[in-house]
């Protein structure tokens, strides 16, 4: 029997190498499994297809592959935002319906939403239907 003070220094000590191996394995696992995406979110409302009776007086913005149309008039995106912002007093509380036409990509639709939100326009609703 060894004295107590020497028992801890027996040759059966836990080695450092397996510990380091484990830490390396954990490191590689977390490096591969974790993601660092910085996702953003925009809240969107969606109505039925086409404007119903409850949507009377609403402004309809159509997004076309070449730009946007407000009340049948083709406008580039910057002008559309300026026009809607200028009419904000008279159209306060009026919902703005946004309807993408066929052939419009999601990116273009979201660009319109983003531009109108930037102008401070709220109450944007996506609608389907139409040509």
């Amino acid at each position: 029997m060894k004295p107590l003070s020497e028992r801890g220094r027996s040759p059966m000590r836990i080695g450092l190498t397996p510990l380091i191996d484990m830490v390396f394995i954990l490191l590689v696992f977390f490096m591969l499994a974790s993601n660092f995406h910085d996702w953003r979110a925009i809240p969107v409302a969606s109505g039925g297809s086409g404007a119903g009776g409850g949507m009377r007086g609403a402004l309809l913005v159509e997004v076309t592959p070449r730009g946007a149309r407000l009340a049948g008039e083709a406008l580039p995106l910057s002008e559309l935002a300026a026009k809607l912002a200028a009419r904000r007093e008279e159209t306060a509380g009026v919902p703005i319906l946004i309807r993408p036409r066929g052939g419009v990509e999601t990116g273009a639709l979201v660009a319109v939403l983003d531009r109108l939100t930037e102008e401070g326009l709220a109450d944007l609703t996506l609608v389907g239907g139409g040509p």
Binding site: L16, V23, L27, R40, A41, T106, L109
Partner: protein, 119 residues
Amino acid sequence: MPLINIVFLLLIFFMVAGRLGASDPFEVTPPETGQAEAARMDGVEILLGADGALALDAREMERAALMAELARRLGDAPGTRVRLRADEGGEARALVALMQELRALGAREVTLVTRPVSR
């Protein structure tokens, strides 16, 4: 051993800063926006690929199966948030149609996931 210290620090960094989650079944690049706020990561996530492929919480499934599963979850917890991550190259009308279907199922809070403008 300074090397082990650094490895430990890296390990702790990746554990704390990263977010573990299942990887996407197909490639989805959400559109860019400058105005949106940081997304809340709770609730369910629906992926809409550029070719119209659908996935619910990183599991690719058919439209009918997805709607049935989502209806079941919304029945269990009516206030569940729905996060929609659609590819920027997809058809916008397919996105609007999907959102209308979600609304018809009773999803009250639907948000569209975007990525911040890379400058």
